[in-house]
Point group: C2
Chain length 234, copies 2
């Protein structure tokens, strides 16, 4: 069912970039409309009397099945270049809807971008009724997304990279206790480059966000690494 | 004249926080509606076929007379808490308008926040026809602003403080060549705290954004300071 004009704010939408990580690679959650061969970010609309943040949480839950995710707003995209009513028309027609030329979904949309960073092994996304499938794609081999969605992903990643040190504490990407190597792999996946081990350790310890615990004894003969956790923010 | 419903996107506005600095204090540009004793940030609406960024530049020019300012988008405010049609009704009635209860300006507005940082000695803001005056206020003694505008200022300053090192290069707050002391005063005004001179100098030089020039000879007997400029970004 197409969202009703009477329920939603016109000309305004949101799109969410859900980054996934599970120890090695950075992935992104993408919806697919099979018959249209179209890929898209999960997005949606804001009800007339709904807080923007609540709309994004609700919509993400409805479209992907993901709940209780910490989402961060990063940018609002308002260029006329992103106006492309023909894409929305095809999606609606594929649903068997009759689409009049003044349909509110064919209007111009300014979209608010949000992102999240989650451990993709902990969640099972499920597609909604509009899209046919939902999948994790490697960031390195992302398909062409509809409208300006690839640009939205780039801008989200740029924001995440700039704020990585502050953001990691609020995101549950690592087990409660982890080694310096685990943390370095996470940074490398997000930054897209290999880091020097000694420099990385020095920088992380200088940030004063880590608490050191006992060593991880594996029974092997090699040197056991220390375990760390994030310090609680008061 | 009240903006016409047919020309603008409903339910969406922008507000701009213009920070001013001229060697010592951090100030903010505020509009006042005298009869209503109401203070507000300069804001406005987006035309149906206008790029968001262009709308903000146009609106700021119309409302304050300021042109060619580099504005940075920092956050979109979408809480229902900010819905306050009575404020807008009073402003319109003060203009002698007849205000019907379904007037589009009495609707709920989500607002996109932008900020700029300028040298306030270089500009002469002029008020528009809706507001009676426009003035620079010290950040330390800002009046109570309408709706959630004080929160918008706080969030803008938080964003500016977090990104200060990257932002300064794009903003013309200092003369082309300046001393380390000039730069430190700018940082202190924005951060709202005194900084240690030696630490500040060490940090700034480590950022590798400054180019050192000849010393500033004043003819006095005290030691002449070096002059610096920002390195061009390639």
């Amino acid at each position: 069912m197409t969202p009703l004009a009477t329920e939603y704010i016109p000309n305004l939408s949101y799109d969410s970039v859900i980054f996934g990580f599970s120890g090695e690679k950075l992935k992104i959650l993408v919806l697919e409309y099979h018959n249209l061969k179209t890929h898209a970010l999960p997005g949606g609309f804001i009800k007339k009397d709904e807080n923007l943040d609540d709309a994004v949480k609700r919509g993400l839950m409805e479209r992907t099945g993901l709940e209780e995710i910490y989402l961060e707003q990063f940018h609002t995209f308002g260029s006329m270049d992103r106006y492309s009513p023909q894409v929305m028309r095809r999606i609606m027609e594929e649903q068997g809807e009759e689409v009049t030329s003044d349909h509110w979904l064919l209007g111009r949309f300014i979209t608010v971008g949000y992102y999240a960073l989650i451990n993709y092994e902990n969640v099972t996304p499920t597609p909604d009724e509009l899209s046919d499938s939902i999948d994790w794609y490697d960031y390195d081999s992302l398909p062409e997304l509809m409208m300006d969605h690839n640009d939205i992903v780039s801008k989200a990643l740029e924001h995440l990279r700039t704020h990585l040190d502050q953001k990691l504490l609020s995101m549950n990407l690592l087990p409660e206790k982890f080694t310096m190597k685990d943390l370095q792999q996470l940074y490398e996946a997000i930054l897209g480059e290999k880091l020097n081990r000694a420099n990385f350790q020095r920088k992380m310890l200088a940030l004063d966000i880590l608490e050191r615990h006992d060593k991880l004894y594996s029974g092997g003969s090699h040197k056991a690494p220390y375990l760390y956790s994030f310090k609680m923010i008061s």
